[in-house]
Symmetry: C2
């Protein structure tokens, strides 16, 4: 009995229904079908899941998806549309026919669809996130897919750092081919490496100097010598949809004493949390241990200092379960998580280091092999 069947039984539901494009990680996980337009996924108790697609997607869905494939026409959708029902009403009508009883839906199920569905059958919210929980525990195949994305991430990181290492310093600004080396140029070169690995980079962070004090600042303009440069890359494999996630902080030249100390604290915090990870370790405990570690080194964890969580699950989403933050629950073997302590001080700058790996019964199978050297 798989996770969804258990959730159906617990909820007293006849079927589970999800609605979305493959940008919705649950839909992608359940269907393994890549689509920019939304599709319907339905799984009845003890049955194989079913995906409902437009006629023109039928053959491709049969090729790509392990689910049973039904066209909207065969499922009655087009008839309901012809009868004058709205798109949401017709979709709900079709789902109700297929489910033939109470329907369990995910938290992000569209309200418009739920309201129509409620006129046919009870709509039960999947409070516990059955699919998110299934997704959080990776199969060996998924772990290998994520590991391979990590290899692509490291190739891209190596390219980005090589550009910084080989840049020429002129008046405190890094130069390449006689022009300032910019955040944008480094990002583009890294993304080009990712493409060659079948991956895409989105919103890769290459921030420098004061900008590094904002953890999610993407960075722009010329890169500076003697200032921290934070590179955070979270590519997605185009075929599989799986992500990797890694961060390094480097300085070309001489870091300030503050940045050097922050780097050492962050590096040691990461080593500490890596040593604590194993099945049964609690995300919130790992987070609090990091807060305490930083406090002992003289750093805060509120609006300055360590201002985000310690880490998060990685899979079809960059950020997914489990959390290594204040609300984090117990880890289980097969979780793939990041550990990414960071310190941020406006005026001084920011430092973050991030590794990723799988939780095992006995420890942390770290995928990240890239070195962590501050100065280039």
């Amino acid at each position: 009995m798989n996770g969804l069947d258990l959730a159906l039984r617990d909820a007293g539901a006849a079927a589970y229904a999800a609605y979305g494009s493959s940008a919705d990680a649950n839909v992608r996980y359940l269907t393994r079908f890549r689509t920019t337009d939304p599709v319907v996924y339905i799984q009845r108790m003890d049955e194989r899941g079913m995906i409902v697609v437009p006629q023109m997607e039928h053959e491709r869905a049969v090729r790509e998806s392990p689910a049973a494939v039904v066209t909207r026409a065969d499922a009655g959708y087009l008839e309901y549309i012809k009868a004058g029902e709205s798109r949401w009403r017709a979709t709900a009508h079709m789902i109700a026919d297929l489910a033939a009883g109470p329907i369990l839906v995910p938290a992000n199920f569209p309200l418009a669809l739920a309201r129509e569905l409620e006129s046919f059958h009870p709509v039960i919210l999947d409070e516990k996130g059955a699919v998110e929980r299934m997704r959080a525990v990776k199969t060996p195949e998924e772990i290998e897919q994520i590991r391979s994305v990590q290899r692509a991430a490291e190739a891209a990181m190596e390219r980005g750092i090589a550009l910084i290492r080989t840049a020429v310093q002129k008046n405190g600004v890094l130069h390449r081919d006689g022009r300032p080396l910019t955040s944008e140029a480094v990002r583009t070169e890294m993304h080009t490496v990712l493409l060659a690995h079948g991956c895409r980079g989105v919103d890769t962070i290459v921030s420098c100097g004061p900008d590094t004090a904002l953890p999610h600042n993407e960075g722009f303009g010329a890169l500076l010598a003697d200032e921290p440069i934070v590179i955070d890359i979270f590519p997605q494999n185009e075929q599989s949809g799986y992500h990797a996630d890694m961060t390094r902080t480097v300085v070309r030249g001489e870091p300030s004493p503050e940045i050097r100390e922050m780097f050492e604290a962050v590096r040691d915090a990461k080593a500490l949390s890596a040593s604590m990870i194993r099945a049964g370790a609690v995300g919130a405990d790992l987070y609090r241990a990091t807060v305490e570690f930083f406090r002992d080194r003289g750093y805060e964890s509120d609006t300055r200092g360590f201002i985000h969580s310690l880490g998060h699950g990685v899979g079809l989403e960059v950020h997914e379960d489990p959390s290594l933050g204040p609300q984090g629950e117990a880890l289980v073997a097969g979780n793939v998580v990041t550990i990414e302590p960071g310190l941020y001080y406006p005026g001084t700058g920011g430092v973050r280091l991030e590794d990723m790996g799988a939780v095992t019964e006995t420890g942390f199978d770290r995928f990240t092999q890239y070195e962590e050297e501050l100065t280039l």
Copy 2:
């Protein structure tokens, strides 16, 4: 009074609320903030919109978003979490405090959030899609942004077609540097061109031969001589989020007579629809005119032949309002739409040509300038 204020008045709501990451086009449109994690957007009647973000995103949101920026802490979220409320409950509680009355929400509003919200205030579904309707009518600035993405798309198309044009034919297979030229290689080269233009390509179609009979088949493996190659590219600008969308069909060598005739019919169908577009023209009429045009040339429009709609709006989503399909409504000046007739016959192959442009009072301001030649 903007579109949202009108919708609030019509619905008798105190505020509009949306929830999502910038992958949600409505959220991106309203906030202009790029984030992989969901944020809350709230707009009260006659007030400036407001975005609620985590503390660590505050400064970046102030930089990027024209909305007022409030941290979750200041909005009371963290207090509700500390009091033991679930994430959905605390988010709803915070939204309810800010709205202080009935709340209008979009169709895709998460059911989990709606159910919590309903315990505070009435939750009214925005049946008419106020934000989608605002998004469908582009400002001159948006039109220029989309036009510039189209330039990037054409540069990438030129690169892809150049690879096919200059390939060496060996035993019916296109070769480059002594190896078969593959769909994947062409896609990667095209995506590299897009990167250099600050755009990303996702799921670009480079399909060949029998695969072209499936309109959304991405294509893989060696490209063949004398067979149709369909290239459909819909890049997104990383900064602005706007898309372009274009398709060309080419044959290296000698197309079959069937493909040649299909190409001519598709080209003429596109010219016909381009000549009919203007403010006031009805999407469904344009679609039906294309169906009739194809019928006169001997092609069906059901499970074979012309099996998709004539076109769609393009903006922060690749597919958005208005539709040029069977349900399409009247166009208005400022719509940006594709026209993309296609014909698909299993065994023979497929042909599609797609241009994009803005609807004006008097016609179609076509952005696409790329030639449409079948044989290379």
